[in-house]
């Protein structure tokens, strides 16, 4: 007699699936993706301020509208060349946000907590920094870190 579990498994697709792999890759790239999202938000806000469409931005940057659409989703691993072009065309500061983030963290946490964060940041390697990321280490010290 088959169990529910066995009957269910008979319905499951046998095609290979890469969801877990993609999930892991996004976690590894988390620090980059967070920056990409911040840039996307800044760009969208600026387009509204200027009354520009994404198509107009594409023309001004001499890139395809498809590329701009990808950019404003916040998943693009921008090149330095693109970022420089973007801040020139839109006249907004995009680069050098790192110091601002560190200052924000300093303002949010005081005393021993701040010392612990600084020690944590000082003791983690680049690779673990990439996987844990600054914000996760600070704001969510234990949640969902297995």
């Amino acid at each position: 007699m088959k169990t529910n579990r066995e009957r269910f498994l008979e319905l499951v697709s046998k095609e290979p699936n890469n969801t877990a792999k993609r999930n892991k890759e996004r976690i590894i790239q988390r620090a980059m993706l967070r920056e990409s999202r911040k840039i996307a938000f800044k760009v969208l806000e600026r387009l509204d301020e200027l009354g520009w469409t994404q198509k107009k931005l594409a023309e001004a940057m001499e890139v395809s509208p498809q590329y701009v659409s990808k950019m404003v989703k916040g998943k693009e691993n921008f090149t330095l060349e693109t970022l420089v072009k973007l801040q020139q065309v839109l006249d907004i500061p995009i680069l050098a946000s790192y110091r601002k983030d560190v200052e924000k963290v300093s303002a949010e946490f005081k005393g021993e907590e701040q010392t612990a964060i600084v020690q944590t940041l000082g003791s983690i390697s680049y690779n673990s920094y990439v996987s844990l990321t600054l914000k996760e280490t600070i704001r969510k010290p234990s949640r969902f870190l297995c």
């Binding site: 579990r5 009957r7 269910f8 697709s13 699936n17 993609r22 999930n23 938000f41 914000k135 969902f144």
Partner: protein, 177 residues
């Protein structure tokens, strides 16, 4: 519709006809799409701070990613994430409808059906950004409820639940005692 295995043998997701991705991949992609989140926030009357909302949703989506990564590595169980959709549900559950959220304050919901309780096995049918108290208050959420019921019906029609299921449940209970 297609049932896709997404995280080890614990978690599965539906890939609906006409969709390029399964529901987990589709939703995680959407919940970190700044263009989508910003537009969503601007059309929702109750969101007053678009930037904070966008930031919070994306962070919550990251939490789901981290949680599922732990699940994939077998270091944490899915029953820590999914809870019955109907709070009063106790005892024997027949393909129980479930909701999952990364934290109590999160707007994000993943909807799933519990295939087996021990070890836990779930099938994601969809998900949504929930800004209202009950699902009845929002058309998108009602659509998610319909998806849950349709998938549950599909499973029943394919004999995933039948009269033997109670026996399965009893056996699993006995094994755990």
């Amino acid at each position: 519709m297609k049932i896709v295995p997404i995280f080890a043998e614990w978690l599965y997701a539906i890939q609906y006809d006409g969709e390029e991705e399964n529901e987990y991949d589709r939703l995680l992609d959407l919940w970190m799409d700044i263009s989508y989140l910003r537009s969503f926030a601007k059309t929702a009357d109750i969101i007053h701070d678009t930037a904070s909302f966008v930031d919070q949703v994306a962070e919550d989506a990251e939490d789901i990613e981290s949680f599922m990564d732990c699940v994939a590595d077998g270091e944490i169980g899915l029953s820590n994430f999914f809870k019955p959709l109907h709070n009063h549900e106790i005892g024997f559950r027949e393909l129980s409808l479930q909701k999952g959220r990364p934290n109590r304050k999160s707007y994000l919901r993943l909807y799933a059906i519990e295939i087996a309780a021990s070890p836990p096995m779930f099938l994601i049918t969809g998900g949504a950004i929930k800004l209202v108290r009950t699902m009845q208050e929002d058309e998108t959420l009602m659509k998610e409820k319909s998806k849950l019921n349709a998938v549950r019906q599909f499973l029943k029609e394919n004999h995933v639940f039948d009269s033997d299921s109670f026996q399965d449940f009893k056996m699993e209970q006995d094994e755990n005692e």
